[in-house]
Amino acid sequence: MLRRLAFASLTRRRARSLLAVMGVAVSGALLLDMVMLAGGMRDSFRKLLLVRGFQLRIAPKGTLPFDTQATIGQASEIIATLRTNPDIVAISPILGLKLRVPNRNVTTVAIGLDGDVQADYELLSGRPVGGTDRIVANQAFADATHSRLGDTLVVALGYDTPRRRLVIAGIGRFFYTAAGEAVVAVPLATLQATGGSATADRVSLFMARARDGVDPDVVRQWIEQRIPRISAISTGTALKQFDQRMGYFRQLAVILGSISLGVGFLLVTTLVTVSVNERVGEIAVMRAIGVSRQHVVEQIVLEGVALALAGTVLGMGLGLITARAFNAILSDFPGLPAAFQFFVFRPRDAYAAMSMLAAAGALAGIYPAWRAASLPVADTLHGEAIA
């Protein structure tokens, strides 16, 4: 009965209800997008950091990984020190340089790494990095150099440095590379030798994995105490830095999300209030024939919730479509890995957005419901009769 009355009341002015549902749908879509942006971006970054289970990054003192061109000297000494800690089960040294492929007129990012403990790429075809000349390239590099698996390429660090022959042994997908950026993984010793004395025994960073059950922050503190010339960064610290740099997006998400919620709330409040004002006579008659105040309140709150829910369901679909469009725009953001996503759908985000809008709908109905329930029955009927 209650639902039927609420439904009849909403369908009495279909155009108006439809407009309100559309308004709530757009607000709901923006709200869902902003909830996805606020939490998903951080989640995506966290997943990227832990893609191969390395919880610690070790960078030159005072820097973040690959934030500057600074490198760490005497890398083998650091590896030896790290190996003395039984809580560190894997160490992956990485050197990042720019390499030229003179014959193809291409400059590429080269990552020097140890093929056995690398956490930078997943192999799609061929063999992993190994020996002195076996490299793994991404598809963007293969396309740029018009090369294929098994091809031998001549590379050099600069224009006045010795050249070296490398064989493309595998094609891989790199986790930390921007979309369309050419990149190759090269045996660390080979890349260090290519750079001559400037890169001998130097690395850009180390990745370290702590034993299961060991707090990575305890290992981080141990590393910083034992090797003062480096900065050890745990996933938590990296996420804090990330929050600081990408704080703009989180603030934008909070502001726009709040505005969307506010717009949805105002829209439902206005519509339900006007609807109640138009029906004061009808409500007074209902009260006069014995319908309880609670029943009137429930019916009007239900109208608000129904409007909000109908808009929210539409808004969820719309929000997912717009999130994809937003992600496509932001995928061009310079310096961010291709695998990084700003808008990540998580069921709990959808529930959060739906709950917020449904609660806003219920709240929006409370004021007009209270007004309707507290109408003086006789005076209202008298006023309506005169009108």
Partner: protein, 272 residues
């Protein structure tokens, strides 16, 4: 003296504060570094190419302020400017430089001439570098534009809904006017004018809120990123667009609702 170890981006250039001298080499530091490390003009700092390496002592000769450079906004790094020779010596970089800046009377010809004979380097016009380094902001601009479209759709629906309700609420007034003999056209014109006026007043209030919001946004982000860059700007074009949009929507909603009401017999509007 600042004892904390930090990695600082060093730029070698000629700066006109004090001449380089072998006895007392000078540096210019940015104001963020000066504030963080409590450094002032005349203080001595030790700069080294990396932690644990014996560095050289420099005298702070100048404190610089960041320009409104979009490419530096999200960078938290400190900047120190050294005389070219001092930085080359500090890094052991010999006679190497990262880039040259050239002033030319014929830019296109100079760029072409350099690139024709260059071996191992390439010349770019400043405008091209500006385009490359401002990609972050181009992406953000597209993102903001996309969000703007959704916001405009949401506000348009909101405005239509409110105006439709507002006009619908006046059905009894309209019925009375029609019963008094006022023509349909006059009633429609009156309602449409009223809707346009409400839109205009709403836009003026909205512009005021937007202007205050813009001041708050600039104050907040200029403080967060320590830059004189303007983040939010209300231009006459934006104002004109917002005004035009809200008036058009107001007129549209007013016209549709007024015609619908004016078509109905006055007694039906009164519920008789």
């Amino acid at each position: 003296m600042w004892s904390r170890t930090a990695t600082i981006a060093a730029i070698a250039s000629t700066f006109a504060v004090a001449p380089a001298s072998r006895a007392q080499p000078t540096v210019a530091i940015d104001e963020r570094l000066a504030a963080t490390a409590h450094l002032g003009i005349g203080d001595r700092v030790v700069l080294a190419s990396e932690p644990g390496v014996r560095g050289d002592t420099f005298v702070v000769a100048a404190i610089t302020r960041r320009g409104a450079d979009p490419s530096e906004v999200v960078s938290n790094g400190y900047r120190v400017r050294l005389h070219l020779g001092d930085l080359q010596r500090l890094l052991g970089a010999g006679d190497k430089v990262s880039r040259f800046a050239i002033v030319s009377t014929d830019r296109a010809r100079t760029v072409a001439a350099i690139n024709e004979v260059a071996l191992g380097f390439r010349a770019y016009p400043s405008a091209e570098i500006a385009v490359r380094t401002s990609k972050t902001f181009r992406v953000l601009r597209r993102f903001h534009a996309a969000i703007g479209v959704i916001t405009i759709v949401a506000s348009a629906i909101f405005l239509l809904c409110i105006l439709a309700l507002k006009i619908d609420e006046r059905r009894r007034d309209i019925a009375a006017l029609r019963l008094m003999g006022i023509s349909r056209t006059s009633v429609i014109t009156m309602v449409v004018c009223e809707a346009a006026l409400i839109s205009l007043v709403g836009t003026a209030l909205g512009a005021l809120v937007g202007w205050v919001g813009s001041i708050v946004i600039n104050w907040h982000y200029q403080g967060v990123y320590q830059t004189p860059l303007v983040f939010s700007l209300i231009t006459p074009g934006i104002l004109a667009f917002a005004t035009a949009l809200s008036i058009v929507l107001g007129l549209g909603a007013g016209l549709v609702a007024a015609r619908r009401l004016a078509r109905r017999p006055p007694l039906a509007l009164l519920g008789r």
